[in-house]
Point group: C2
């Protein structure tokens, strides 16, 4: 039935064999295992950060912060599952007098999907990689994980995987709950394997679309959660420039240049009123940003091409023309590039300017009093992870409300007066958005709600108590929240209708 | 941008124009509109049931029950949305001391996806059609609906649509929130249109796969919720036959023959111990079932072919050989057909026996003491809407637990001691299952949880109070439940770890 090479087949089978024992572990035990992984990562921080810095060119400070975030993420998922609320237990008591005739006893909860194949990202070697968000969410849900390592940090991937696997084994989790594979071919072959129940991915639109199409065209399609491309438009109103133009310029340059602009939430386009007067401040801020190595030579080449395309588009003005230097080893070193053009010129340039530039580059889109900003958001861009609005202190007129509405249409997160980089890992975070920001708009890849992508509901009808899963039993051995529809309570509309 | 014919284009544009005004209506107002639709359907019951009976051949009793179910469904969704809990509001208060540094104020809730294209089913002219479950769920979520009418009941579709549209308008809902189109070409063209945000479908594997592939391969893919094929295996243990064999035979024949077997949850395969001794009882029960018209000539032809294939497979024994009669008008009339064969013969026959037969036909799969039932469930069938277990009074040994586990793997609902037809519309219902039962295993098409398929999350970061959507505001004008993560409370694992 399978056509995988033997080693890969063994990996898939180990994940399949682990699926039910792992799904059956109590949330409290799985939570302790996640905490053990977090502890182990922090205990190995010096070693891991050293390897990561050498392989990615990211700064030690950034990598230490990212490792901490990765550990906190695991702890947050431990918190999320420990009380069992995530199981969404619903119990409909049998009701002989239900509006549609006798209603059976029905009990529903969420079960783990099964083995998850997680394609790691290049730009977050910890937080979106081997032990990153999707791994944490899948393990929290009770799904075995196979990580397809990113080729940009191979040694870090293997070392991290060893730390994770050892911590999980030490916490008593079954064999096969966590494995790693390398190479694009292996990833694609596993994605086609019937034992894989879901895929997750962070990377380019091109690769993401390819994998999403494979997942959708399998004999039995599976869900695929891809986070692809986003240019994160920002709109700054005239009032905001008047009130705090300099602070906006400073925050903007910091957000564009952090991690050399290699962040999925980098603000790529900033709508500013023509005549904003921020050029000098932006140029001065950009001049202070040191040259930063890009993640790998491939990204450097592609960034160079994008930068050339933007810089040479008709109507483009350079505010900070950060050079990119390709070193002898093929690595590229970049400083921030900020360009500006009128809204009309940007629209006329099309993809040459509007496509994502993965690196420290942004374009100020200068609008005039008659320009339609909502129309620009609607037509220039597809879906985005974020849209950011910088408005004046008490600005809440129809134009602003229209912008909030447009932002809500096109993004998973709408920010006010801040910058989209730096994604908080919390219950209310939404890191997603309409295509091509993600392949699956109903999901998030950051924040504790991400656990939902790896769960599916199952109902049990009239089950004998001894055969029910623990969270559905009346004696509730795990003490999970159980939402009950009691007999006679099942149709309440009558009372509401009186309002 | 669009290539739709003008009338269809106007339909899509009306839905798109309605999307934001409709999404912005208060849950209470939308709930009242759903109740108005329910009231209107019930007020028109005599007329609608008459048209439905003529077009579908279903009995008046069945159709009256189905209309009532459809109305109750609308009322249940009104109940579901009226308190706003479905919005899943999460508020993370700003926290200067969060584990990863300053945390912003983040507020997340679920918003309507946008216009939904709902492909109606043939076999439930009310409950899975114009005003059926997907329509109710989408309207409840605040999504405009375009129904692609099923060709099997054209006049009923138009009359129902008129009743629904008038009731929604009377309840003050915006123009364009509910529309109907006819013809496969129109459906496919709309599914490709960028203004459509999601598709839903109930029907065959063939048509469902075709539409799912279209939705997945759009330039911007959209979610597609298809309910396709299911054969709903039933396992009866030796103890169950001993304890209540006659009752099982009676319940089985009723479930197979209800609505002439044209139900997605019809039990198509029943595993019984060899030597069960139920043949006579089953034959006697089947003999009492009157001839029933199948929904339409196409279904009759295809049922006839399936029945011929099963009846002529090697090793098949006939218990009740219900003839199918094709009348001069092309309509087919059928009585229940029950066949039996050994597990080995069924496995050897493959698709000829194992494919779904849409009509009043089921196969008893006779197993011996050495046969592996879990293996049979794992290998003979793909995903199913239901798996049913009939076990003895106090049977809870390892074999039974293995069957429960296998049932959970392969179905969205696991029943004990009952029959899968007759799906309760309640909070704990799960009407879904792994491919090809559905295209999207994390969703349900019956029960109030179905609203989730038409929602997506959006977060607002540091938004001024005046610009926040009503459910996210601290003054909470709609009075919805708001889950708050307060400053300092954000990482609780420390305390849990002490357990």
């Amino acid at each position: 039935m399978t056509t995988l090479p033997p080693a890969l087949d063994a990996t898939a089978q180990a994940a399949a064999d682990a699926a039910e024992p792992f799904a059956a572990t109590a949330p409290h035990d799985r939570a302790r295992a996640l905490v053990a992984v977090a502890d182990a990562l922090e205990a190995h921080a010096d070693e891991l950060v050293g390897v990561a810095a050498a392989e990615t060119g990211l700064t030690e400070a950034r990598l230490r912060g990212e490792l901490k975030r990765t550990a906190v993420q695991l702890r947050l998922f431990a918190d999320t599952i420990v009380d069992g609320e995530y199981l969404d237990v619903r119990i409909d008591e049998a009701d002989p007098d239900f509006a549609l005739g006798v209603r059976p006893d029905l009990r529903r909860y969420l079960v783990a999907l099964g083995p998850v194949l997680n394609f790691a990202a290049s730009n977050f070697p910890f937080a979106f990689s081997v032990a990153g968000g999707d791994t944490a969410a899948a393990l929290a849900a009770g799904c075995p994980v196979i990580v397809k390592a990113h080729s940009g940090h191979p040694e870090l991937s293997q070392r991290t995987a060893a730390v994770v696997a050892e911590a999980l084994a030490g916490a008593g989790m079954p064999d096969g709950v966590f494995q790693i594979v390398t190479g694009q071919e292996a990833g694609v072959a596993l994605l086609r394997d019937p034992r894989i129940a879901a895929g997750s991915f962070t990377g380019s639109i091109h690769a993401g679309r390819l994998l999403a199409d494979i997942a959708a065209s399998r004999p039995a399609p599976i869900p695929f959660f891809g986070e692809l491309g986003s240019v994160n438009p920002v709109v700054v109103t005239e009032a905001a420039v008047r009130e705090r133009g300099d602070a906006i310029a400073t925050g903007f340059v910091a957000s564009v240049s952090g991690s050399a602009g290699q962040l999925c939430t980098k603000p790529g386009f900033v709508f500013v009123p023509a005549g904003h007067g921020l050029d000098d401040r932006i140029a001065a801020e950009a001049a202070q940003i040191a040259e930063h190595r890009l993640l790998n030579p491939r990204i450097a080449d592609s960034y160079k091409d994008r930068r050339d395309a933007v810089a040479s588009a008709p109507g483009i003005r350079s505010i900070a023309d950060g050079e990119i230097r390709i070193a002898e080893d093929g690595h590229g070193w970049a400083r921030p590039s900020v360009y500006a053009a009128s809204l009309a010129d940007v629209a006329a340039a099309g993809a040459a300017v509007l496509d994502e530039s993965f690196g420290p580059l942004a374009v100020l889109v200068e609008y005039g009093p008659g320009d339609d900003l909502v129309g620009a958001l609607d037509t220039l861009f597809e879906g985005n992870l974020t849209v950011t609005l910088h408005v004046g202190e008490r600005e809440d007129d129809e134009r602003i409300r229209g912008l909030v509405q447009a932002a809500t249409r096109h993004a998973g997160r709408v920010l006010f007066g801040g910058w989209p980089t730096g994604v908080a890992v919390t219950p209310a975070m939404q890191h997603g958005g309409p295509w091509p920001a993600t392949t699956n708009d109903a999901s998030t890849s950051v924040g504790t709600a991400a656990i939902g992508r790896f769960l599916r509901p199952v109902s049990y009808q009239d089950a004998p108590a001894v055969l029910l899963p623990a969270p559905l039993r009346d004696d509730n051995p795990w003490g999970v929240p159980q939402a009950r529809a009691r007999a006679g309570e099942s149709l309440n509309w009558g009372s509401h209708a009186a309002n």
